[in-house]
């Protein structure tokens, strides 16, 4: 019995969360450092996973399997394929920056008893989320995945509802009500999705008699398990609904803007860059593999929804007055791309989608965290309250611009690679949809540059005239992300080489082949 690496990767932050929560109220800073160290250690473990993972090896590697709840046919089964490795990597990479960026976000206000320890709670919750996200990337047992997919909501919920931007335009009272509204909305949306998925999960068990992803896929392959078409479709819809809420796909997206708007920048990053990825990841791993036929059946509708998300999200981003809301809608547009890539059912599309998950994570993190620094300086989220910042804080403005350029997927930065792959992948099977989707490219440029112009350029507003430039801690947060963006934009091969085999596998599970070019000779 070898060392349970995957379990360790998830358990470490979990234990870290407990430890952090246990730090006495006085040693606030200790808690912060502890959290930072734990996240770094997790990163180290994730790197070990990355190293130990052999792209050309078995479908699922580093597998663990133990009996858990026999009566429910549940086994504690973990295993990673390339896609999972990539996303675990993303999570582990982002966490330290999230912790670092949120360094002062949870310093307690005066109110509350001496036992009230918001700081410890904040970082403990963040680590808890990390643990649950990682394990849901690792789970190859539907039930295990479901459990953590759902349980994840609770710490997220407290992070959103419990901690918000310090200075708030309408005062603390309004702030807290809006916060709890956002938190409740987030929870109910996702819980509803999750519960509907629960029905589907039970249905799956009734039909398949097992929760093990591999077993079911195997059984379906060798024909020992057959599903009635209607059953498969219902189950697929049950699963997809939950993931579409999480992703979030139009028209189930409205929780995201509120959640991101009300939560602090690091938490917002946690939501959109990490937690939401579980949704798209699950589409790729569970929807497609468990219900290939139904997936193909649903593809047209889903593609249209994705297309709507792309255009709609971008257009709304253009119309926002609030920086964070703008980023949120931009993310909705990007998630549209991801879903489109997944259901384009081409190698390029799905690899692109996976890369997109990673790159979008990094780019949004960069943009959002810088935006957070900006907001924390002026104490307002409204675009209109800024102007001419680049004059007083050139570094901040510069990083902000780079984050923006990444968001509009400028060639040379990572997101371009994934976005183009998604487009090509979609185009090669559904040309019209692919072409319409390119509208998203133009709109992305529009909302990003308008945001930059309104906040950073023009005459210096008096309120921002005294704004300090990025501090060391903040530079430490942003610089590595930017380096990553450039590196993955120029040399994404390490990532693609990990992801490709897994995608090919998925393609064969769905019995799909890439369309052949019209002129073979050229190849």
């Amino acid at each position: 019995m070898s060392f349970p690496l995957l379990t360790a990767t998830a358990a470490l932050p979990a234990l870290g969360a407990v430890a952090t929560a246990a730090v006495p109220a006085r040693q606030r800073t200790a808690a912060k450092w502890l959290a930072l160290l734990v996240s770094l250690a997790t990163l180290a473990l994730a790197i070990v996973v990355l190293v130990r993972f052999d792209p050309d090896g078995a479908r699922y590697q580093l597998t663990e399997s133990h009996s858990w709840i026999r009566d429910f046919g549940v086994r504690y089964e973990l295993g990673v394929d390339g896609i999972a490795v990539a996303l675990i990597g993303l999570t582990a990479v982002l966490m330290p920056f999230i912790v670092l960026a949120g360094w002062h976000d949870a310093d307690p206000l005066e109110t509350g008893s001496r036992r009230w320890r918001p700081t410890q709670g904040f970082f403990a919750l963040i680590l808890a989320v990390e643990a649950m996200v990682i394990i849901s990337f690792e789970a190859t047992d539907v039930f295990v995945f479901y459990i953590f997919f759902e349980a994840m909501l609770i710490p997220m919920y407290f992070l959103i509802g419990g901690f918000g931007d310090r200075a708030h335009s309408q005062g603390e009272e309004a702030a807290s009500t809006q916060r709890s509204y956002a938190a409740v909305k987030f929870l109910l949306y996702n819980l509803a999705g999750g519960l509907i998925m629960l029905a589907a999960v039970i249905g799956l068990y009734v039909v398949a008699g097992s929760f093990s992803l591999q077993e079911i896929v195997q059984a379906r392959a060798d024909g020992s398990l057959t599903m009635a078409t209607s059953t498969e479709r219902w189950l697929f819809l049950g699963f997809f609904f939950a993931f579409a809420v999480k992703a979030p796909l139009w028209p189930l997206h409205t929780w995201l803007p509120n959640a991101m708007q009300e939560s602090t920048a690091p938490v917002a990053v946690l939501i959109t860059a990490v937690v939401d990825k579980v949704g798209t990841f699950a589409m790729l791993r569970f929807c497609l593999q468990l219900f290939p036929e139904a997936s193909k059946w649903a593809t047209p509708v889903i593609l249209v929804l994705a297309l709507i998300s792309i255009v709609y999200g971008a257009l709304l981003a253009v119309g926002q007055r609030d920086i964070k809301r703008l980023v949120a809608y931009a993310s909705i547009s990007h998630f549209g791309f991801i879903v489109m890539g997944i259901f384009a059912m081409t190698t390029q599309g799905q690899s692109g989608a996976t890369l997109y998950m990673v790159n979008h994570g990094i780019s949004t993190a960069a943009l959002m965290l810088v935006a957070g620094f900006l907001i924390s300086r002026r104490g307002s989220r409204l675009i209109a309250d800024y102007g001419g910042v680049q004059k007083v804080a050139p570094v901040l403005a510069g990083t902000f611009l780079i984050g923006g350029l990444a968001t509009l997927s400028l060639p040379g930065l990572a997101p371009f690679v994934s976005e183009f792959l998604v487009l090509v992948g979609t185009f090669s099977r559904y040309p019209v949809i692919g072409i319409i989707a390119t509208v998203g490219i133009v709109l992305a440029a529009l909302y990003t540059l308008v945001l930059y112009q309104r906040t950073m350029t023009g005459p210096v507003k008096p309120e921002v005239s005294a704004m300090p430039d990025l501090r060391v801690r903040e530079v430490l947060v942003v610089a590595p992300l930017i380096v990553l963006l450039v590196f993955l934009g120029v040399y994404p091969k390490p990532l693609t080489s990990i992801v490709d085999p897994a995608v090919k596998q998925t393609m064969s599970d769905v019995q799909q082949k890439d369309p052949k070019p019209a002129v073979e000779a050229a190849k």
């Binding site: 909501l153 419990g162 807290s176 916060r179 109910l188 819980l191 519960l195 629960l198 009734v206």
Partner: protein, 549 residues
């Protein structure tokens, strides 16, 4: 009526006297019940002979010992294989000793033990005139606010009768799910109900509400048991017997030795169906299923909180046990008649409970409605009519009862000058004041909401899965939807506790004695264990899934 017939009546009536032989009772196998009843009687004697100041301790001691002993007996029986291989009918066919019975008895006894701790709590209320007081009226007979009461309080009286009453109720609950003929069922029903009626009336604070709760509970309960009894009568009329086995045979038509009278009544399905409906209705009343639920909120709110907790937990367990046995042992032959009806009841119960709870403003009423919704979920499992269904329901009940007691125990802690602060607005910002209590309560709420890694989720999953396998997929969908609705108000409370600022003159959290702490701790422990590693208990419930008939 012909003379011959009359004469025969007399003769049959007169004849057998010489033939009566002493009944054969398996005292060992009935020991749990007997122990509890014995302890209850001792409790009565204590009330009679032990001096007032030492009564409390004596009562608590006796009750605790009795409950533990009874539980030990249950464990011993289960270990002795009475739950599985040696399961059989004891006491001349009156009481079944089998898996479900033992499992439920065990659950009830543990719940009762935990409940007992909350009953015995004396630290929460400020000491009156130097005497530690519990949450029961100093002298139930005295008029609220009258000088009689003041005198009683001054004298430091406490109603230690609650402990024997508790034990009697427990005894009834132990027999209820094990009863194997309708008469025993009825008697057990009354034995568990009557003490509860009284306990409801004994609150120390808010006595008017307490008495009102008692009256409502009593009248409606009596009303319901009248229906039950009439149902029993009709079934007896149909089958000519009240023993489950016999009735089942008659229903299946596999009965032997059909005399003309029986042949006559057997033909009359109306007797059977109406009787069944009325009997089931009586049980549905106890579990608080819509539309027989209306007593629940009022009684839960008015009764002393420890009683509410105990009642909500143990009564549900016992009643569902009886319902299961009735439907699985007596009426399986009628499945196609009662299942659709129960479908309706389950659906209405789940939805109504969840929806009405949304707008509740009193924490105890909120929990009452949530318990209604949960009754609906459990019914979904009952309807499965598979072995998995049985074990799922058993598991659910086990998990649910401890969460409930724990939750109500927490409610007893949050107090202001007027006693317990049960209005939701008073709970605002509790998380800031005392994070621990709020966190614990949050855990219970999440368990109620069925969030994964809590017993609530495991139970819900088991029940829904059983229902789905039993071909009740629509029920599962409805259940899922109503859980989503229900989640809303559980979340509301959490929001209130953690995200809204505490009110200036809000309630304080009393520091309880180890008793209540144990109760809550047990609740949390069970919630987490059953949520994370439920396998062992699922095995237990699984083994206990078979009824003897």
């Amino acid at each position: 009526m012909s003379a011959a017939a009359v004469h025969s009546l007399w003769t049959t009536a007169a004849d057998p006297i010489s033939k009566i032989d002493a009944p054969k009772i398996e005292y060992g196998q009935l020991s749990p019940t007997l122990i509890v009843i014995g302890a209850a009687l001792i409790g009565v004697l204590i009330e009679a002979f032990v001096p007032r100041r030492s009564r409390y301790y004596a009562q608590v001691f006796v009750s605790a010992v009795a409950l533990c002993a009874a539980f030990a007996a249950v464990v011993a029986l289960a270990a002795g294989g009475y739950g599985t291989t040696k399961a059989h009918i004891a006491a001349m066919g009156a009481v079944a000793v089998d898996g479900p019975a033992l499992f439920l008895e065990g659950t009830i006894l543990l719940a009762a033990l935990v409940g007992l701790f909350t009953f015995a709590e004396r630290r929460l209320d400020p000491a009156a005139h130097g005497n530690r007081v519990d949450s029961f009226a100093a002298q139930a007979a005295s008029v609220p606010g009258g000088e009689g009461e003041q005198a009683a309080v001054k004298a430091g009286f406490t109603t230690t009768e609650v402990f024997p009453l508790l034990l009697f109720a427990v005894a009834g609950m132990l027999v209820f799910p094990a009863a194997n003929d309708l008469l025993t069922l009825f008697v057990a029903l009354e034995v568990l109900s009557l003490p509860l009626y009284l306990l409801c009336a004994l609150a120390r604070r808010k006595r008017l509400m307490s008495q009102e709760a008692a009256v409502k509970y009593f009248l409606l309960g009596a009303f319901a048991s009248a229906f039950t009894l009439f149902g029993i009568a009709l079934l007896y009329g149909y089958a000519g017997s009240v023993s489950y086995a016999r009735i089942a045979q008659v229903v299946d038509g596999t009965v032997s030795g059909v005399d003309p009278a029986l042949a006559n009544t057997m033909g009359n399905d109306a007797l059977l169906l109406i009787g069944m409906a009325l009997l089931v209705m009586g049980l549905l009343f106890k579990v608080g299923a819509v539309p027989f639920h209306m007593w629940t909120p009022d009684v839960y709110q008015g009764a002393p909180t420890p009683v509410t907790g105990f009642m909500a937990a143990a009564t549900k367990v016992a009643a569902f046990g009886a319902l299961l046995r009735l439907l699985y042992v007596v009426l399986p032959g009628l499945r196609w008649d009662w299942r659709p009806v129960m479908w309706g009841v389950a659906i209405v119960t789940m939805l109504a409970g969840a929806i009405v709870a949304i707008t509740q403003t009193d924490i105890k009423r909120l929990l009452a409605y949530s318990s209604i919704a949960h009754a609906g979920f459990i019914l979904a499992g009952v309807i499965a009519t598979t072995e998995d269904g049985v074990s799922a329901v058993l598991f659910y009940l086990a998990g649910y009862s401890f969460v409930t007691i724990g939750a109500f125990a927490v409610v007893t802690l949050v107090r202001d000058a007027g006693g317990e602060a049960t209005h939701l607005s008073q709970w605002a910002g509790l998380g800031r004041r005392s994070p621990l209590v709020a966190a614990v309560f949050a855990v219970f709420l999440l368990a109620f909401a069925g969030i994964p890694l809590t017993s609530g989720f495991a139970g819900k999953f088991a029940v829904f899965r059983a229902a789905a396998e039993g071909g009740a997929a629509p029920l599962v969908v409805v259940g899922v939807i109503s859980s989503a609705i229900a989640a809303f108000f559980y979340i509301r409370v959490i929001v209130l506790m953690f995200f809204s600022d505490p009110q200036p003159n809000g309630p304080t959290v009393a520091v309880p004695s180890p008793l209540t702490m144990t109760a809550i701790a047990v609740g949390v422990a069970v919630t987490v264990v059953l949520g994370v590693a439920p396998q062992y208990f699922l095995d237990l419930a699984g083994q206990a899934g078979v009824f003897v008939r």
